[in-house]
């Protein structure tokens, strides 16, 4: 195929970042800027020190030019994340409900807007790392439950799903194939079965 094989069927981390940058985020502008019409969203008239919601990538451009402060989302503070961490420990079979792009958002904000966060960056980093590890352990444990029909991954973020996808999908596919071949075909002549055998790889 034309698309390189490492881009087929899975997203790269940069692509996930790209998707996460489309999320709206609240900013505190320092200058007044006129409204901009983008594809899909509009950046409203920005007035100094008046909170507005803009796409994250616009916020990052303004931030690098020192034209705004980013208001961190309400889940990005040590207290909230500590609570979630306790949640994870209390419920060993579920994932706590974090936003679908918590990893990418927190990484972007920690690197590019660290001066806008209320808590210290090192503390946030360590609690995020803890959360990530405990969720990783859970998803590893969950892989034991793979079967040919379904899997429930409630509360897993996009990046975490993306990590296990290249492993989970082929394994489930093979399990399904093996399951299907043991089923009895009611209709289906010999010739059709022959065609299946020769064309299947």
């Amino acid at each position: 195929m034309v698309l390189p094989s490492h881009l087929q069927g899975n997203l790269t981390p940069t692509e996930i970042n790209f998707l996460a940058e489309n999320e709206l985020i609240t900013i505190l502008p320092r200058y007044s800027i006129k409204k901009i019409n983008l594809i899909g969203v509009t950046v409203p008239n920005l007035r100094a020190m008046r909170r507005e919601k803009v796409p994250l990538w616009v916020a990052l451009i303004l931030k690098t030019q020192d034209k705004c402060n980013i208001v961190p989302p309400k889940w990005l503070n040590v207290n909230y994340l500590k609570e979630k961490y306790d949640d994870e420990i209390r419920k060993p079979t579920q994932f706590s409900d974090l936003p679908w792009n918590w990893l990418e958002l927190s990484k972007i904000l920690l690197t590019k807007a660290s001066d806008d966060l209320q808590d210290s960056v090192s503390e946030l980093r360590s609690i995020i790392q803890d959360l990530r590890e405990i969720r990783l352990i859970k998803s590893r444990k969950g892989l034991k439950e793979l079967n040919e029909s379904n899997i429930a991954l409630n509360g897993l973020s996009l990046l975490e799903i993306n990590e296990i996808r290249p492993f989970v999908l082929p394994v489930m596919n093979k399990l399904r194939q093996m399951h299907d071949t043991t089923l009895k075909h009611d209709a289906g002549t010999n010739e059709e079965n022959m065609a299946d055998v020769t064309d299947d790889e």
């Binding site: 195929m1 034309v2 698309l3 390189p4 094989s5 490492h6 881009l7 940069t14 692509e15 970042n17 790209f18 451009i61 020769t198």
Partner: protein, 245 residues
């Protein structure tokens, strides 16, 4: 046994399926397989005449011996056809893999004219050195395109057979036609990485002389650095002249 030749061809196909370049076309092997198919076809025709004879005899009298002959004949015909089918499948798999690699290369954003020159000069290099590794200064002249894992990034037109060369040229025309529908607004062969920064620092890896992009001219001197708009230099990065920092 029938099919062994084809097996070798497929094993070769598997070997180069992940290489960044397309190896030489195995004309001998393919010719052998086609010859084998012709032999098998002759067998099949012969067997069908026998089967016709048997059928005629069957109308006259029905003995157990004749019935067994008929069954044996059926079995031979069937196996012959299966062998032909397997050879056909192996040949098609080989050709398809090569054409896929050609298509991959054709989509890379390398100027077609340049790629042809590049491959031509590299082939003369290999001809001159006759198997020895190509001269180091030939590499300084020809920038190596950015490597993409499991992707065809080099092409030597001399490794292709006549039909593949035609196919490659026609496919390039198809791409050009298709791209022209989108005008200048969308470059379909552009970088597949999502855009991050508008302005980037680039370092020049190879001497390229004066290179004029659509937005102005650069003087590419080795190890010089520029701070430029990413969309201006995307093509040069793809061709391996510049490296993003």
């Amino acid at each position: 046994m029938y099919g062994d030749q084809a097996n070798k061809l497929v094993a070769d196909a598997k070997r180069f399926s992940n290489l960044p370049s397309i190896p030489i076309y195995q004309a001998d092997s393919v010719k052998d397989i086609v010859k084998e198919i012709n032999d098998l076809n002759r067998d099949a025709e012969y067997l069908s005449t026998i089967s016709d004879n048997l059928k005629e005899n069957e109308a006259e009298g029905n003995s157990t011996q004749q019935e067994e002959d008929y069954r044996i004949n059926q079995c031979q015909t069937f196996v012959t056809h299966l062998s032909m089918r397997r050879n056909k499948r192996c040949l098609l798999a080989y050709e398809k893999l090569r054409s896929d690699k050609l298509i991959e290369f054709a989509w890379l954003n390398i100027d077609p004219a340049e790629s042809i020159n590049q491959s031509a000069s590299s082939s003369t290099d290999t001809a001159a050195t006759a198997g020895a590794p190509s001269l180091p200064n030939s590499k300084t002249l020809l920038p190596q395109p950015k490597t993409i894992p499991n992707y065809t990034t080099q092409l030597d037109l001399n490794n292709l057979n006549h039909f593949e060369q035609d196919f490659y040229k026609n496919y390039q025309n198809l791409i050009t036609n298709y791209k022209s529908k989108f005008g200048e607004y969308l470059d379909l062969t552009g970088d597949l990485q999502p855009p991050t920064d508008i302005f980037i620092d680039v370092r020049c890896l190879k001497d390229g002389g004066d290179v004029t992009t659509e937005y102005g001219s650069f003087n590419l001197i080795k190890d010089s650095q520029f701070y430029v708009r990413k969309s201006d230099v995307e093509r040069l990065i793809q061709q391996g002249y510049l490296e993003e920092i």
